[in-house]
Symmetry: C2
Subunit: 549 residues, 2 copies
């Protein structure tokens, strides 16, 4: 890919400089051994052959397990951070997911925490010593934030993201910064500066995007928990493509204060930050820690809603006790998911039906055809100029998906203010209709559905440059509903053959259908999405999660 190398021969080239900084930060002692020449497509088992048993023991714990073992002194903060620095450095060699590691700062903090623990006999907070990774664009005071734009290399920020700071105040240690795609508007991860990030389960495939550095790193257990961001699926899709968990929260649950923006003042489709983790408990850990720091006292955009982990939504044990009501959206009526996704839906619903405490309701017909148009019109209302100008400033070639979504997108145009007001009103009308349909799933003596189960993405993780159908994830950005992605199965060519009797519903449906070739996707993770109404983030990341079934 020439776009990734255009500056390669210039010694003062900012791209080479950024990569050099990354490479220096990756040095570990003792050095990692050379990797075998012919790596398998699935690299997830390689770390176990390279790292020590103790390092694997540490890095394969869930975040909940880690904080417990740090709190009772079983692990020290220093040995935990050292193990993750080594595993992250290895993950970088395997799937190219890191923009830099932060060994000095992280080790210094870990030492301080260990001393505090020794001196006071207790932890500094509930996340004492927990390593966390952070998508590159989420601000860390004193560090460069380039958003993967060549033109922004060297831009140092002077604030910490407030949400990230709340995690640090509770004892967490940021130690790794991760890759994101050009413009952050792809469901895959490749950029001029850092190249292509690949999927640990099959390096011919994408780990998703735009938080694909996080997903690849966490899937390889190079980090237990991290921050991604999501405007159209960018947390959920990469989490889903790599078999980990990801939550896109309701937009005003986590503060964006302290983040550097490149699109300030655009509030029509909210971009959100949120957790990605090896466990669903990790999602809740981040949400609870950040929300209960009461950020609404300094960020007036947030409503004062604490994390409600004590609420018994089903009134269990009381006279009003009821079943968990799960709506099923089999597809969006426009583009049929690939066979393994349909199997994942069927198998999950079959399991749910066997639970006597769960009631299943098919989601009624609802026209989703406007969703992409409204979302896309509002997102690209400046005709993509801010992003395209930044690319031009950096003399970057457009990646194929940048070309596709910024140039060939039928809904991108330079809009007038009045047009954006009109489309915002259409957005509100769409939101109102969807909320009405949700509410209608209940009746006088029955509760509306608690959660909605949907496909997350049209198929398995795609090959590079092929992730073009966003509707299943962006629908919930348009609605601003919280959604979790959770792993269900992997592609099995025997169980998931091509649908030979496929009847397409339109051109995009046919084009998407043709992308599926079972053998290409063997072992690729297949995940689904669980959604709740606005502000009911707790329902999908705690009480009601159905992933362990």
């Amino acid at each position: 890919m020439s776009a990734l190398q255009i500056h390669a021969d210039d010694p003062r080239d900012p791209i080479q400089e950024a990569r050099r900084r990354r490479d220096i930060s990756l040095a570990v002692e003792p050095p990692l051994p050379d990797l075998p020449k012919d790596l398998p497509l699935n690299v997830t088992s390689l770390p176990r052959g390279i790292l020590t048993a103790r390092e694997c023991e540490i890095t394969e714990k869930t975040p909940e397990g880690l904080v417990e073992l740090l709190a009772n002194g079983h692990f020290s903060a220093v040995e935990v951070i050292e193990a993750f620095l080594r595993r992250a450095a290895l993950a970088q060699r395997l799937v190219n997911c890191v923009t830099e590691l932060l060994p000095q700062a992280a080790l210094k903090r870990a030492k301080w925490l260990d001393n505090y623990y020794k001196e006071h006999g207790r932890t500094i907070g509930p996340l004492h010593g927990l390593p966390i990774s952070v998508k590159e664009h989420i601000s860390l005071k004193g560090w460069e934030v380039n958003f993967s734009f060549v033109a922004r290399i060297g831009t140092i920020v002077d604030t910490d993201g407030l949400a990230l700071k709340a995690m640090c105040d509770a004892g967490a240690i940021p130690f790794a910064r991760t890759t994101q795609p050009q413009t952050l508007m792809h469901l895959e991860t490749s950029s001029t500066i850092y190249g292509v990030t690949t999927n640990p389960y099959n390096t011919m495939l994408t780990p998703g995007g735009s938080s694909g550095g996080e997903s690849a790193l966490i899937a390889l257990r190079g980090s237990p928990l991290g921050f991604g961001s999501d405007t159209g699926g960018s947390i959920r899709v990469p989490a889903g493509h790599t078999g980990i968990y990801g939550l896109k929260p309701t937009s005003t649950r986590l503060s964006h204060l302290g983040l550097t923006g490149i699109a300030g003042g655009r509030e029509q489709i909210p971009s959100v930050i949120g957790p990605m983790s090896t466990s669903i408990g990790g999602l809740e850990m981040l949400m609870k820690t950040v929300i209960n720091s009461k950020m609404w006292e300094v960020d007036p955009s947030l409503p004062p809603i604490e994390w409600r982990d004590g609420v018994d939504w089903l009134l269990r044990g009381s006279a009003g006790s009821r079943k968990l009501k799960v709506g099923i959206m089999w597809d969006d009526g426009l583009v049929t998911p690939h066979p393994p996704v349909r199997r994942a839906m069927r198998e999950t619903v079959e399991k749910l039906r066997k639970d006597p405490d769960i009631e299943i309701v098919d989601w009624a017909e609802f026209s989703m055809k406007d969703a992409y148009e409204i979302w896309s019109t509002l997102i690209f209302a400046d005709n993509g100029e801010v992003m395209l100008n930044l690319l031009d400033d950096g003399k970057e070639e457009l990646r194929p998906l940048t070309e596709w979504i910024f140039k060939h997108n039928p809904h991108k145009a330079k809009r007038s203010l009045q047009e954006v007001w009109d489309w915002t009103a259409k957005r509100d009308e769409f939101r109102g209709k969807f909320a009405h349909a949700w509410h209608k799933t209940g009746a006088v003596d029955s509760h509306p559905i608690d959660v909605l189960l949907t496909p997350l993405y049209i198929g398995p993780p795609a090959k590079l440059d092929e992730s073009k159908y966003w509707n299943y994830s962006l629908l919930f950005n348009l609605l601003d509903y919280p959604g979790v992605s959770f792993p269900v199965t992997t592609v099995d060519p025997t169980l998931d053959p091509i649908d030979v009797d496929f009847l397409h519903k339109g051109d995009i449906d046919l084009e998407t259908h043709k992308l599926y070739k079972p053998d290409w996707y063997k072992d690729a993770p297949i995940s689904l999405q669980l959604v709740a109404r606005r502000f009911e983030d707790e329902k999908v990341s705690n009480d009601f999660h159905i992933s362990p079934i």
Copy 2:
């Protein structure tokens, strides 16, 4: 004023038709006697000389008192609604505050409620039989909504405002619709269709606006409780100018679903609906009823925050008990309030200082100079075209304040989308700085201020066409903080002489200073404003209200 009469000679004139409908709706039996020829400037005591003692007894109750007496059968719903219909018809003759009454619909509903009460021995809900008034633009299904635009006369709406419907579901009866100014963007109330609404305490003065029909009607006890709306002060200023109570809630506490808009999709400065009443208890009654109907289940723009009337914000009686901390914003640093407003501030603060459970903190210097520019730029970002075109369609002359704010406003301009995004980012920066300043009033071992006491308006209710300085009220629209206006005193020329040593801070300060002439404003109500942080509406309309002191 010729603008109010341009169509007077045309029998098919829509204005005459609208007034005819209004006048027919005002007929009461037995008819009201003719009014004396020379009415005093202060007409507030006239109803007692015209209505029966029983009618006065009913109409002079607070909303809390009324629902209690309706619930225990002391009053019937029919006699209550009949008394208010008579008093509202009288108020219309005195101050021209009504666009129409709804005698048939209201009486029919009252009879139904009385029958229900007889049959079941209980009320239908907590507001059983309570009459409520509604600013004209707030939708009532099947009725015309013209927003005071001639061009919209005859426009029938097909939905009820959801918040209004929640009140009706609890037993309230809408019976009166009230006047609003041309474009709804004045702090006074005059329109081509309905003419000028005047202040019951001094009919040479304005009752404020844009909810001036509500304020004048409620001040005359022609309604106990009503819905106004507020984008820059339109609930609080008219409530303040007429000695009643008004609350501008946080923007997403009450639903706007079902309302007809003329500016759909504009979300940069939220317009809100809210309660106006003869008592502060009335404000809480409306808020609690509407919010606890759980509108967030059908309106996804609302966070699920119930009305918190049981919260003991001060932790009274516990070890953590603390004082109520009240910040004092003496002025905005730009334009000095008139002498009676300054006296109201001084007297209120003196009383507060005597309360051992209250701690007073002066609000630190904070630059307010950007507030009007940001608010105004965002509000008039279409150069006022939507409004001005509607006026043109109706062949309306511009009222002087329309001319002033739409034509001579230095911040109105036709903005590009990018400009509005930039100004939205400036709005967020302003909000962030203000929240930080509020937070800073606390320290490690002390709580930030609970509420902020401020002037509400620069002076007493103005003469027509003179209400031009909005900063004290619009500041809290820009911030989206809840604010209550509450009566403190009345103008006393002896206590409130012209400030002869006045040193002005600039042209607007000097111009505003010159407007004050004590004798003109004798007996005019002076009110102040109590503000809380976003979503803490309960703090200013319940627990912490300081008006009764």
